[in-house]
């Protein structure tokens, strides 16, 4: 989990363990308007890797790197909003 380099693009997170999509084929897992939720209590937390900011530095965070620790993930609607 070293420091990430800053490029001009805007990187985003991705869910780990997803099957790679062959080029030219559309994703069929999410039918129009339907979002499948796979996170549920008692089940393994879906792994992901995504860019993050911590104390003046950019980094990549991978959830499974924290195995062995308790983790609390807090989603929130957006920066500059109240909590």
């Amino acid at each position: 989990m070293g420091e990430a380099t800053v490029g001009c693009g805007r990187p985003t997170g991705s869910v780990m363990g997803e099957k790679p999509q062959p080029k030219g084929e559309t994703v069929t897992a999410t039918v129009a308007g339907e979002v499948r939720m796979t996170a549920r209590v008692g089940a393994k937390a879906p792994d992901f890797e995504a860019p993050a900011y911590l104390r003046g530095k950019f980094m990549n965070v991978k959830l499974s790197d924290y195995l062995g620790k308790w983790v609390m993930i807090c989603f929130y609607p957006g920066d500059f909003t109240f909590v």
């Binding site: 997170g13 939720m37 008692g42 860019p51 900011y53 104390r55 965070v61 609390m72 920066d79």
Partner: protein
Amino acid sequence: MSAVAGKHDEFQKLGVQILSISTDSHFAHKIWEEEELSKMTKDGIPWPMVSDGAGSIGKIYGVYDENGGIDVRGRFLIDPDGIIQSIEILTPPVGRKVAEAIRQVKAFQHVRATKGAEACPAGWEPGLPTLKPGPDLVGKVWKVWKPTE
């Protein structure tokens, strides 16, 4: 986020790693932390602020709002084995109560420490009696535990 930051010492004592996630870029996180949050908290935000720009993490966790393009408020407590023990999801206008998250951490850690031999009844706080599930307890909970406010 600043409310959680105010209790970060307590989360640290409990060995809990916090990750905050929104659909903002990590660049936006940097400016928000530097310009605002650092002034609302003692030491700024001491955990990674994760960017979920495409909402792909929010989707799989069931918190992504496609109309707004945002992740709604959702708190997921994950144990050292990577198992989700607790979920709380709210629509945006109401914030979380951090003390409840801490209470749940303590309760789940207690259950884990006893390898599931003890359970924490409603309203449990450290120091209050736990239940020891087993054949002898069936129909006898009233003897060992009284509902409280």
